[in-house]
Every structure is written in C-alpha cells, then in structure tokens.
C-alpha cells in the first residue's frame, strides 16, 4: 500500500467522483432495485451524492474527517430510504474515526472504513451474506490492505457474488427464494464507491 498522504482535497475529489459515477449508473441501479426492491436506489443515490458534491464544493471542509462527516450528514439529510442512513453512517463513522488530522494514510483510511462498515452492519443488523451493500463493502475494505485498485476489484466481485444469494435483509428479503438470481443494488453502488476511490488515487 502506498505511503501517499491523503488530504481533504483528495476526499472531496473522491466523493465528487462518486457523484459522477452514481449519476452515470443511476438507471442501472434503479433497474436492479426494480427487480428485487422498489425501483428507487438510483434516484436515491443520485439525490444524495448530488447534495454531497454541492455541499463540498460550496464549503470544502479542512480535514478528511470533516469531509466525510459532512458528506455523511448530507446523505442522511437528503436520501431517505434504507441506503440514506446506511451510507450516511458509513461516511460519518469513517470520518469520525479519522479525527481532525489534516492528512491521513491509506492505512488510516482503511481502519476508518473498517469502523464505518462495522457501523453499517450494526445499524442494519446485517452481515455479509445477507445480500446487501455489506457484501461489497467488506471485501472492498479488506482488499484496501493491498491497494486501491484491489479494493475496487474486490468490491466489484463482492457485488457480483450477491447474485446467487437469497436476501435476508431489506426490501429484497420479502421475495424469499425469488430474490435469488438478481444482483443487489446497494452492493452495486458500494462497488462504485471503491471504483471512484481507485480512479481518484490513480
């Protein structure tokens, strides 16, 4: 893992890149959510990350931690649904664990994200294998130990691996057996987070 220090600007660029990716992939996310949910995940993520990008551009926070907590707060305040509180908590908890440092290492980011992902599982009473965003977040964070690119790949694979799973959490769980054979929308958007991270780090 590189020793490059990540400053607030890096985090702003990351989340802005997420906003761009989400925008581009919104229809696909909604399509996935249409099959096993309520067909709003794309517009939920779009609304949320658009607000994040606007907020970060208007008044860029000074530290990585502040960027993430600000972004998390925006998601919570604008998304609604299941993904709003979950992604909001992910970013807020990660941001909090980064503290007030002006720059953080990739290892520190990974530690922060580990705490953030744990908070998601706690809030959602969920774990990997439930066919949720955790199935992309957990392997993504693990692979961060190797590299940003490895994290992107691992989370993407994690998202793909949700296809054969029977959902146990969220709206898809109502489908029981019939949730099998569809990729989880939240896991798919989680993979976008890591894809953007890798792209910005390049």
């Amino acid at each position: 893992m590189s020793e490059a220090n990540l400053d607030a600007d890096f985090f702003v660029r990351w989340l802005t890149a997420v906003a761009g990716l989400v925008d581009r992939e919104a229809e696909r996310l909604t399509e996935l959510d249409s099959a096993i949910g309520d067909a709003d995940h794309g517009s939920n993520m779009q609304r949320g990350f658009a607000a994040v990008a606007t907020a970060l551009t208007a008044a860029p926070p000074a530290t990585p931690g502040a960027v993430l907590t600000t972004a998390g707060r925006q998601l919570i305040s604008t998304v609604g649904g299941a993904s709003g509180p979950l992604y909001g908590t992910l970013l807020r908890r990660t941001g909090k664990s980064l503290g007030g440092a002006p720059q953080v290492t990739a290892a520190e980011l990974r530690a922060g994200l580990t705490a953030g992902v744990a908070a998601v599982g706690e809030l959602g009473c969920s774990q990997t294998g439930d066919k949720t965003m955790l199935d992309a977040l957990v392997p993504g964070v693990e692979a961060l130990a190797t590299s940003f690119d490895a994290a992107a790949t691992a989370s993407e694979e994690g998202a793909l691996a949700t296809v054969p799973i029977r959902a146990k959490k969220g709206r898809a769980s109502y489908l029981g057996e019939r949730s099998i054979g569809h990729q989880d929308p939240g896991a798919t958007s989680s993979a976008l987070l890591f894809a953007a991270l890798a792209a910005v780090a390049r």
Binding site: S34, A39, D40, S77, G80, G81, G84, G124, K168, Y174
Partner: protein, 330 residues
C-alpha cells in the same frame, strides 16, 4: 403511463401545495416537507408523529389533526423521509410531554426514524417509537426484514391519537399503540401493479388473468400468484391467513382498504364478502371502515385489516377525529 402531474420531480411538493391550499387547519412546510396541526404544540398532550414514503395518501398527511397525528413527514414516492423532517416535526409538535413516532416496519423507515429520535433527543425532546408490522403476508423470521406495516397503521394512529388526546402520558400512549399493533393483522391483494412517477412504468408484471396474493403497498411481491379469483374467494383466502395468525378473542375493527384504483363500488362488494366470512367464522364485528386509506398509487386491489379491540380500544376508535382523511364525532 399518463399521470395528472407536472413533472415527476415535483409531485410531492405539488401535492403538499395542494394540501396546504385545501386545509388551512394544517401548517404545511412544502420546502421541508413537514405537515403539522395548526394548533400544535397542543398544551399538555403527548404528540404523535408519523411519516413514510409518499404514494399512500391519505396516509399520513391526511391523518394529521385533532384526535390523530400531530405531525407527518412525507418522503419521496415510496421512499422513507429523512431524519431531519421527523426531528423538525417533533420539535414543532412537542409540548414538553414527549413525542411518539409511529413507524411502519420497512428498513428505510426504521433507520431514518431511529436517527430522527437521536436528533430529537439531542434537542431535549422525549421520544418513544412504535413499530407497525401487521402484514401477515410476510413471514416474520430472521430471514426477512420482518412483517411490513400497512393498514394497521391507521388503527394505531387513530387509537393512540385518541389516547393522547385524552391526556395519557407518553409511556401509556406508547403502550396503547403497541397493543393496537399486537391486535392488528393485514393482508393485501393486487389486481394490477402501480406506476411510480419516477419510473413511469408498472413496478411489477402481473399477467392479465392473474392476481398477486399478499402484495405490499409498494408493489412488493406477495405469497403467490393465482388465476383471477372472485371477491368471495379473495375474502376467504385473506381472512384465512389473518385469522389463523390473529385468533381473535374479542370483537374486531375491520378496514377494507382500497389500493387506489379499485372503485368504491367494488370495495363495498368485497366488504360484504369479508363480513360473510367473519359471520361464518363467528368473529363479532365492532366497526367497519371501507375506503381508500393506505393506498399504493394507482394499484388496483385491496387489503383487509382486522384489529381486535376491548372496550377501551373501541372507545378510542370511536372518539372524535378531525383530519382530511378521517373524520367523525367532531
């Protein structure tokens, strides 16, 4: 799909403007998406706040008023509102005696209301929450997000609202709400799928000659799909499932609820069949309410909710209520 709208993006805001214009007895914050009674906070009264995705009207905004909710927070169509809305509503209606959040059991609603409770408590507001999970179509197990909240929500909001109006303290209003949840069971059927403004096409495919048994109010799939049944057969099926689970020992309140596009003529005909089944099963009926109360946009279909009630719950059901969507006794 044609809709009576301007653009999909503004449907919720447009509806709130319309609600405000028609109901001067409500304070409607169109920007922040909060609806509260004009006389809020009501001195000495526990306040009730609910909310959820839009598309289920008159739930919840239409149930704000004396005898029912103090505030409501509409989210995007079929999307839970955000915590800020609920916290804002709580602050607007709290008279110092606390706020009860009435939450339908969907992951999004649960999480957002939980965060709202934290925000409100940070502001020094005492908050209790009750989770409505009356939909017997979903098996409540560790393998699902649990039973969904549907028609039973109306019973909870009405009865707990009356208890609050009577001056009961927060813990007791909360206990009443919980009693209503435990006493309520619902089952819904869809004859057609609904179409959200954002998507513009039906949320699921239902072949011409079939119906979906056990559908959710967001078009979530049900237990099974069958060739079209008569209203009598549907009543038999739905009440079988409900009664097996509820096993009522007390008279029941009956809600025959339209999903949105089913004519009232058909709903009344269906409620005749519901009554027939209850008579056959020797379940005494205390009250019956027929109409479109917890809808699913333009879905055709209906749901039945039973709530078994003792004398006290029945008295609160009968108590005056004055809201846009439900009104009697005042």
């Amino acid at each position: 799909m044609k809709m009576l709208i301007n653009v999909a993006e503004t449907v919720v805001a447009d509806a709130l403007r319309g609600l405000a214009a028609a109901h001067p007895e409500l304070v409607v914050d169109v920007e922040q998406r909060v609806v509260v009674r004009r006389d809020a906070p009501v001195e000495g009264k526990v306040a009730l706040v609910s909310g959820g995705g839009s598309g289920h009207e008159p739930l919840h905004g239409g149930f704000v008023g004396p005898g029912m909710l103090d505030g409501a927070c509409p989210g995007e169509v079929f999307t839970s509102p955000v915590p800020d809305q609920m916290a804002r509503a709580a602050a607007a209606v709290d008279s110092g005696h606390g706020v009860l959040f009435v939450v339908k059991n969907y992951t999004g609603d649960v999480l957002n209301f939980r965060m709202a409770a934290e925000l409100a408590e940070d502001e020094g507001i005492q908050v209790a929450s009750v989770l409505v999970n009356d939909d017997v179509a979903v098996t409540d197990s560790t393998f699902t997000a649990g039973r969904r909240g549907t028609g039973g929500t109306l019973f909870v909001e009405k009865i707990a609202g009356a208890a609050a109006e009577e001056g009961l303290p927060l813990e007791r209003v909360e206990a009443v709400a919980r009693r209503v949840v435990e006493s309520s069971r619902s089952f819904g059927v869809a004859l057609s799928a609904c179409t959200t403004p954002a998507k513009g096409s039906p949320t699921f495919d239902l072949p011409p000659g079939e119906l979906e048994l056990g559908v959710g109010i967001h078009g979530e799939p049900g237990r099974e799909r069958r060739p079209m049944m008569t209203s009598g057969e549907i009543a038999d099926y739905a009440l079988d499932v409900i009664l097996e689970d509820l096993q009522p020992r007390l008279p029941v309140l009956v809600l025959v609820n339209g999903m949105g596009a089913t004519p009232l003529l058909e709903l009344y005909g269906f409620s005749a069949e519901v009554r027939r089944v209850l008579d056959e099963r020797e379940v005494p009926v205390a009250r019956t309410l027929v109409g479109n109360y917890v809808t699913s946009l333009d879905m055709a279909g209906c749901s039945v909710t039973l709530c078994q009630v003792d004398g006290e719950l029945l008295r609160w059901w009968d108590a005056p209520v004055s809201t846009a969507g439900l009104r009697w006794g005042c």
